[in-house]
Symmetry: C2
Amino acid sequence: MNSGEHVRAGIVVTGTELLTGLLADRNGPWVAQQLGAHGVEVAHLLCVGDRPEDLDSALRFLADQRVDLIVTSGGLGPTADDLTAEIVARFAGVELCLDEAMEQQIAAILARFTHLSRFGPEALRAANHKQAMVPEGAATVDPAGTAPGLVVPAGSGPTVIVLPGPPRELQAMWEPALATGPARAVLERAQPYSGVLLRLFGLPESEIAETLRQVGADVDLSPLEITTCLRRFELEVDVRHRPGAEPVCKTLVSEIARRHGRYLFSSDGSSIDDQVAALLAGRRIGLAESCTGGLLAGRLTERAGSSAYVAGGIVSYSDAAKIELLDVPSGLIERHGAVSPQVARAMADGAVQHFGAEIGCGITGVAGPGGGSEAKPVGYVCVCVTTADGAVLARDPVLPGDRTDVRERSVTLAMHLIRQLLTR
Amino acid sequence: MNSGEHVRAGIVVTGTELLTGLLADRNGPWVAQQLGAHGVEVAHLLCVGDRPEDLDSALRFLADQRVDLIVTSGGLGPTADDLTAEIVARFAGVELCLDEAMEQQIAAILARFTHLSRFGPEALRAANHKQAMVPEGAATVDPAGTAPGLVVPAGSGPTVIVLPGPPRELQAMWEPALATGPARAVLERAQPYSGVLLRLFGLPESEIAETLRQVGADVDLSPLEITTCLRRFELEVDVRHRPGAEPVCKTLVSEIARRHGRYLFSSDGSSIDDQVAALLAGRRIGLAESCTGGLLAGRLTERAGSSAYVAGGIVSYSDAAKIELLDVPSGLIERHGAVSPQVARAMADGAVQHFGAEIGCGITGVAGPGGGSEAKPVGYVCVCVTTADGAVLARDPVLPGDRTDVRERSVTLAMHLIRQLLTR
């Protein structure tokens, strides 16, 4: 599909807990994204148990697939069943040697943890020694926790980057690992992708598929790698290419913008959360939530500094709370029902008033699974955004999915209505 | 480790979007958990791209590992690049044949989707035909969406269960797939695990490791498969075994209960959310949240029927909101600061009063990254639970982690304090 050299990688995540379904892997997607940004194509992602033969067979499989780079996570701890360094050394055909400088560095780190440790002094020395055993010819990466990372050139085979399992440690050690000589030697051969990430809200995926088909009939899109993906109820279109394919990328992006401009809210990588936070700067928002039960407030306060623009919120699950805490007229609820555009509007206005805010948002709906009726089925949600000076934007769709979906989609819809009201 | 026959499985999840890091796989962990419940050990979980050679090499790798069963997800759609059925047929060494009954069934389903479809009538017939092509000897599974599932016995090799990628479809088709003849033939050979899932709150993982070490010195724990895992800031200890190892499992569980009973809150599979929901039945709770910004309200209203016991919540991010909406005395904030046990208590009491609830919870803290001081560093959180009749339970720990961690840990702490106050 492109002219640059293909550098291919495999990722091996170790951990029996990933194979019992107890835990979902977080390292694989993160490493994949990082490698992609360097122009490295990830061909396989494997989760294997903690047994040495499973890791060994995974490494051999990836070597058979002729990948240039392997990244492993996990199995670097101090106990006897943490065997990654040993297995990778065997895979690379080299011996383990004691790295004395590393031994001292780990000793200093372990000393800080002694009071938490389950090891006696003797076991601690053994653990320390074990963690300082490094495959011959490997570059080391300073520990972010207690385990050092390794970058092992494997002769004519793939280079192996060995990192610990805890995501925080792996992520902190990633850049230092890439800066080592053996990793640089691989990455220098990769041609980084360029690309654009488009985000759209409210457009069915099939419409983008149709656009791609129609544009593809006139223009050769094969130099582009296009992935579409629904995430958090937004549609992401990731368009990547190697140098030289800028014009065809531009053509596609402007065609999507021309056809679906109403739905396209981001082409610079910004999220709806970034945009709403920027738009709310210098104003304050008050929230009144029923079926979403505080999730919109939770989402808006995710980011540091949000106290400057989130005045507060009221979760008014009951009619009484709507009437007493938000001054929703009880007659309005009687006439239109608690789930109605009228009550959503009154909730938004009540939030503006009670918090002395410039903008308010009210959400009321039937999240399900019970409580639906023919007129107001499960998924029927009324969202209203108002400002202190009288601007109003409201929607009352029937959202698909289960209770969790309906609640999350309602929050996303509210985020987009806030953006739309503040940008029009 | 055990006497029963080992039935081993591999899982192959297809989708290029999983290898760019755009999306994290949800099917792998789910299928792994289901297989585990049937006593099938998952040896490998692979994510591969949509290229036919990647899926093919993954299947061959798993066959080399001598697994008895392979589960694939994805690649069953109507388009030309959905090639899973074809590749699995080749892997099993059989031809694809038209299943006419399936063709009619799919036609009926597709007819309902025509208005959404990007296909013309001719393309639709082709898609229909393609999706009804079934490997010879395979059992079919009725579609939950538009794509049928397949269960393909692969001669002397592993049996392959082929399911679509959308998690909702895969999950709906799982039990019907297991009920087919070829799947039953494999599962009948597996000896289901029994086991206990223990959940503890507030105990460091190293303490459980030490207990396992000490118990293991007296009792042979090798018939047990023990996995410990931190999830949502609780510690899960999953103890599994084959028939015959009940006594050693019982010994271990009662040793853990004896040593760590204070921290052990569940040994029957129930979550803290299950327990709090059950304890709140017949009462109503009011919430007052500052640093958690509505996340506790969001969590308590996750489940259907929560409107019966969640009276409502106030997100009082500002001092003004605390004073006006929760009647926190302004002098209290001046004397002790907005983040203080005294203000958390006043917030909880305010929530009880304003919502006319039997129980209230107040949370105020420094979620960070800014706003910390020496006396009240980032992570310092005050949580207080009170009842209308004067019972109080409060904690003010310094929680580790970043802003998201601190907020989530605060919510989990609040859930446990609610449980503790209602069970004492």
